[in-house]
Symmetry: C2
Subunit: 414 residues, 2 copies
Amino acid sequence: MMTLAGNLHINESRFREDFQRLTRDGATPDGGLNRPALSIAHLAARETFQDMIWQRGFTARSDLAGNLSACHYPSMQTKPVLMLGSHLDSVKDGGRFDGTLGVAAAFEVLQVLREHGLDRPLEVMDFTDEEGTWVSLMGSRAISGQLTRKDLTNPRGDLETFQRVLQRAGLSISGILSAKRNAEDLCAYLELHIEQGTRLEKSRTDIGIVTGMVGIHMYLVTFSGQANHAGTTLMSERHDAALGASKFCLMVQETVTERFPNCVATVGRMDFSPGTFNIVAGQVTVFMELRTEDAERAEELQQALYEAAEHSAKMFDLGIDFQHLESVTERRMHPTVIEAFEAGVSALGFSSRRLPSLAGHDAQSMARLCRSGLIFVPSAGGFSHSSREYTCWEDCVNGANVLLNAARQLVASF
Amino acid sequence: MMTLAGNLHINESRFREDFQRLTRDGATPDGGLNRPALSIAHLAARETFQDMIWQRGFTARSDLAGNLSACHYPSMQTKPVLMLGSHLDSVKDGGRFDGTLGVAAAFEVLQVLREHGLDRPLEVMDFTDEEGTWVSLMGSRAISGQLTRKDLTNPRGDLETFQRVLQRAGLSISGILSAKRNAEDLCAYLELHIEQGTRLEKSRTDIGIVTGMVGIHMYLVTFSGQANHAGTTLMSERHDAALGASKFCLMVQETVTERFPNCVATVGRMDFSPGTFNIVAGQVTVFMELRTEDAERAEELQQALYEAAEHSAKMFDLGIDFQHLESVTERRMHPTVIEAFEAGVSALGFSSRRLPSLAGHDAQSMARLCRSGLIFVPSAGGFSHSSREYTCWEDCVNGANVLLNAARQLVASF
């Protein structure tokens, strides 16, 4: 692959100003962001981004999945589009850098490339619901044709609320299913994101170049006992679902820690029914998520946790329902893009390492549609999905510059 | 104490019809009742009861705490009132007999006593929120002067919702605080209730005569860790509040079972924050309730569970907040009333035993105001606060007849 002489550099002050502007809507007092996909705060952030797109003289495009993009399509150009992007939505009570930094960086790269008279179609994407408030990676899976009607009619939360929220955003399930784009129209997709972990910080590395994403598997594990009076039901007479769920939660942690060193499993929530002080829990539903580097390992872990759930239920004489809810399969990043990132890193004199992503990202959906790549910048202390999430500004700028030079090199090579 | 020759008997078919009518509002498909205090279904049940009061030619009275009563006040009478009653509210997804059976039985007793020309002031009470959907034993604590403004401004759920619900029912916090009645105006309070346990059924006893109620103590135990990304935060780097809460839940059960044989403790709910699949829980709040026969034992148990909470928090490097929310202190039933019940039991040829109540009842609030007594009828299988709650009709009738004859004897003795 040819490389061009001389490096480009982003406009730091403009980049910083844009990032600050894009992190205002839904900002929380503790310095975090609270804008779950399609919430009022999230829609406000998109309006802010749309204003920025217009002000800078780009075309704003909003597709049937709600994805908002800034387009630079030279009228005499027929070559495929280079796409860059990330997402403006956050988890509930999340941080400022997760997603929004990638959108701001991509938008800055777009402006620099246009300033340098790059005569190629470019598009900067803000994908819908990357975090899966409703359906994980919804926007990027929609345009890469990886969403089924079943995915959309079984959202997190309930369908009716989801549909009301879609309606408010001017969207619909049928529309989202029609948002697919053609592979021939795209040459590559590039994304910058924070690591959300400590591997870069601990190894003092500037840039992480992602080789692929882990698979994510979600389960609802329900323990069923007998709802009963919390005073008159003797301890010995109880079928208390709370005990099975609690035992299971501890076994999940033990199992993964002791037998599955490279995997993670999380119990992020338990719903008690009826759920009051004075009634023994008749039913408790455990919300569990697993992440593994390959499908085979996922199978083994799922089996081990299924046995743990059965064991916990038997211990307290409870019924059990182990329901696999949803999976996002692991995905490899494209070698050409990985090389372009590494060329950019070395041209700019930064340090980098290849590593797998333990989180899901839009780049993994896009890998189904075109050459896809992702870089990480360090996360201080590894805090993520939390208001304590932080990346120092120098690292943000370094990442944006790598993204810029990799993009420039890629378009030159197609 | 004198006893009168001959026993009175209730009108079975009328009693049955009234009970069925009073269990229609808020009935669930599985044969249970869902009418938390001041819910639409509960207010509907009260309207039904008010219609019955009018139809049978009694005066309906609704006090400032929302307590609804059927009054028979002979105009030439100055003697203190004999009060009977229970409650029409249920827990969320509760049973048909808890409370409503006692109201129906008391109303039947009222009608029989009037038919027999009893020239004494009688009142049948339906107390507000016995179950503590908002404030436990609210109605009976209000008329016995045991509610503070603090009790009412710290309801379960949030204050604003509570106030909106009060407004819908035509009530207010200041009003509830003004609902106290005078001890001199009451001679005694009698109540019939289902046991909600298995002691009577297992010992094949017709009637349980309650000696006193256990104390009830409620706590919110909050474990604080660090909310973080469920994929990128390695298991070894987590401060997962779910683990501390789960460990604590299991320790509560072990501690009570092994060291406090006559007590019960329940974890009826856990609230996870932020509470989603893909975020390690930053905070989990455990809703815990204890019941003990005496205050000293309660102190010991609370101390033991506090240590269990500290241990669980330390195990997973979490912060802990152990908050005592509310207590209902234990209370003795009045010997005169106990004797009247026993006289009624033997006159009718039933079997009975004295036993403490492991549940809270309006009779315990009333004990602060006048001579108070409570009888139990058997609960099949001990199911309670559940749609499986059941008492065979013969036991219901027997209980009502004991209530009738005890009431008749008591009024004769004052």
